[in-house]
């Protein structure tokens, strides 16, 4: 993988992950910080050095592991950075394999970000799914196993669609596997299959139900990783191949609203955040669908900002879960006295996702909405603005309010356990919170990384214009008025909401029912029929032959049998019943036979 001194950051993480379990305990913590930092520095060293690296000749193909350009860099930068933050957040976790799974998962994401062809993409795509499922299983609750299998099942289905698409494409193009703009003007069945593979990882309805299912059940640190990588890698893949694919605009808008609706109903803080990932990724999908330079810049910028603020939100709610063991609003409330710092960090995440001026979402999300207005897709732009009111309503208001204020639903045990989390978790949240504000206040930091520089510079002059600030503040603050007026309606209910995973969860049950009831019934019928038609005549015949055998043949055979039993008894005495002796006797016999054969 190393050509011209180019080192793949995934390689650093994979090798790092494989060495980790063998290190002495005192070395582990520094090592956990050093490895992702090396990967981050590796990515930084590539800045400005665009080109193709790491080309490997394999069978008939040239596999490209390292395509470096502006689009690659912005995603690689934020993903390696998030890997450092996530690992620091999980420093207290002593189970090495959680770190190994997380790093392999990030390595999968980075592999996709850097790959230049579909074969390498597929390889790393699957690595992502198979590494991340362990972050669910390591929660080790009784239900974790089932959730993990569902997650794996859905992702395997998506992977198969992708594989089928790329095989068809390989055939149709006469052997072209390069991963680039796929030709959205002239889509074929292979285009749609590849798109379905990507859309499933981006959690676009109807392929989205795996996301809240898995992220709500993942380990505290696992969810911090999962919320950053799978969906944003899919956004990268869509931006690379499907920019300007029109159907992505309505799909993205539906996603943005769908997530908002389910977030209203949700009682579990982490599942609520998961539904808001769907909502936020909807903006990015719509941005890719709009496909202009401003929109693609917006999708990248929003993915960048989203990884940080969503990571921060999952860290905040994860801290509550880590300390109290609870993540449902109906088990929490009034915790500001016990976990004040976690509250402030989570609030910063909430204000960032809501796109408050001076926070990161403000400079990224608006770019996509502006691109919608510029292209005169007014319905999409207005509906995305509507969804952003919903974002503030839930993540900015509902999550902080019902965990840290509101009615105190904590049991005595929960209340006693609640406190701000260990230093490493606070440090990780602090770094993420700082970056959320820094991105919002100092736009060149993010804008200088975006793929279309001229467009980014132009937009930088507009983003803090009076009109945009006034528009955003009005929407957000009057949403807050609505929240406080209707707060009784929003009181959490101890319920779950049925989503489209119903079909495969109940479908699986339907299959069992089918196996248990009709198929087993048919099997019984056949058995009964066989008993009457086959078994009874057979038994009668057998009884006759048994009588014949007993009285006629045995008399003759008994004498013979006695002799055989005598020899058998002799052999039995040489057998101790232990396997090694049997093997020993057998080998000895073969050796003696060989010697006889050779010398005789």
């Amino acid at each position: 993988m190393i050509t011209d001194f180019w080192l793949h950051p995934s390689l650093i993480l994979i090798v790092g992950a494989l060495i980790l379990p063998f290190l002495p305990k005192w070395l582990k913590r520094p090592y956990l910080v050093i490895v992702p930092t090396l990967a981050f520095l590796d990515v930084l060293s590539m800045q400005g050095q665009y080109g193709t690296f790491g080309v490997v000749h394999f069978l008939d193909w040239f596999l490209t592991f390292g395509r470096v350009d502006a689009l690659t860099m912005v995603f690689a930068y934020i993903m390696t950075l998030m890997c450092i933050i996530g690992t620091i957040y999980g420093l207290h976790v002593e189970d090495d394999f959680q770190h190994v799974a997380a790093w392999l998962y990030v390595a999968g994401s980075l592999g996709v970000i850097f790959c230049g062809d579909y074969l390498v993409l597929f390889l790393f795509w699957e690595l992502m799914a198979f590494a991340s499922v362990f972050l669910v299983w390591f929660r080790r609750r009784p239900e974790s196993l089932g959730v993990g299998y569902r997650y794996l099942l859905v992702h395997t289905a998506g992977g198969l669609a992708l594989l089928a698409g790329l095989v068809l494409r390989y055939q149709a193009t006469g052997g072209d596997l390069s991963f680039g703009p796929i030709g959205v003007g002239n889509p074929s069945i292979s285009t749609y299959l590849i798109m379905i593979g990507f859309l499933l990882n981006a959690a676009v309805p109807p392929f989205h139900a795996w996301l809240p299912d898995a992220y709500g059940e993942a380990t505290v640190t696992g969810a911090v990783f999962m919320c950053a990588f799978t969906t944003k890698t899919a956004i990268y893949a869509l931006a690379r191949a499907f920019a300007g694919m029109e159907i992505l605009v309505p799909l993205g808008v539906c996603m943005a609203l769908y997530g908002v609706v389910y977030a209203v109903l949700e009682n579990d803080a982490r599942r609520l955040l998961a539904y808001h990932i769907i909502s936020q990724v909807g903006y990015m999908v719509a941005g890719v669908g709009i496909g202009t330079e401003l929109a693609i810049n917006g999708a990248c910028a929003h993915a960048f900002a989203h990884i940080l603020y969503k990571g921060l939100l999952f860290m905040g709610c994860g801290s509550v879960l880590h300390m109290t063991g609870k993540s449902k609003f109906t088990d929490l409330g009034g915790l500001y006295k016990k976990m004040p710092k976690t509250f402030v960090f989570t609030l910063i995440g909430g204000l960032s996702i809501s796109a408050f001026p001076l926070f990161s979402g403000f400079v990224s999300k608006s770019m996509i909405v502006a691109a919608g207005f510029e292209e005169h897709i007014y319905w999409a732009a207005f509906l995305l603005t509507l969804a952003s009111a919903g974002t503030f309503l839930h993540t900015g208001l509902k999550v902080p309010y019902f965990i840290w204020f509101g009615k105190n639903n904590c049991s005595q045990e929960t209340w006693d356990k609640a406190a701000d989390p260990p230093w490493n978790m606070q440090l990780a949240m602090g770094v993420a919170a700082f970056l959320c504000i820094f991105i919002g206040c100092y736009t060149p930091y993010l804008y200088n990384m975006l793929p279309y520089q001229e467009e980014a510079r132009h937009y930088a002059q507009l983003v803090y214009g009076r009109y945009h600030v006034s528009e955003s503040l009005q929407i957000l603050l009057f949403t807050a008025v609505g929240f406080f007026l209707l707060i009784k309606k929003l009181a959490p209910e101890p319920k779950i909401s049925i989503d489209l995973d119903w079909f495969y969860r109940m479908g699986g049950r339907g299959f069992f029912w089918l196996a248990r009831k009709p198929i087993q019934w048919a099997d019984n019928c056949v058995s009964e029929g066989y008993r009457y038609v086959g078994l009874i005549p057979l038994m009668t015949t057998a009884n006759f032959w048994s009588w014949f055998d007993w009285h006629a043949i045995d008399g003759v055979v008994d004498g013979l049998a006695k002799t055989v039993r005598g020899v058998g008894g002799l052999v039995r005495r040489t057998q101790s019943g232990q396997l090694q002796y049997n093997i020993f006797y057998a080998v000895s016999f073969v050796a003696v036979a060989l010697v006889l054969y050779v010398f005789a």
Binding site: V260, Y262, Q474, F478, V481, K489, I496, S497, I498
Partner: protein
């Protein structure tokens, strides 16, 4: 420090609420009087306080529609999927 600040504000809740309303009014006034509408994308945005009304209505619509949808039978008991 954070806890003290929050308690300080909670002790004066009515004042905080009144100040918030004043802040909202000032925001709309600033928008109507001093913010140029040259960057507006559509004609409706020229209506004074359009985005304030939009934000409020959006919030109410989202809450009511979602709750209505949830109570159609989408929200169900927590052990629904247990055997």
């Amino acid at each position: 420090m954070i806890v003290k600040l929050i308690d300080f504000l909670r002790d004066r809740l009515q004042l905080v609420i009144r100040l918030s309303y004043v802040g909202l009014a000032l925001l709309v006034a600033w928008d109507v009087l001093f913010v140029s509408k040259e960057h507006a994308h559509t004609a409706v945005e020229h209506i004074p306080g359009f985005w304030a009304v939009f934000g409020f209505v959006a919030c109410v619509v989202i809450i009511i529609v979602s709750k209505w949808y949830g109570h159609l039978g989408i929200m169900t008991r927590e052990d629904y999927y247990d055997n």
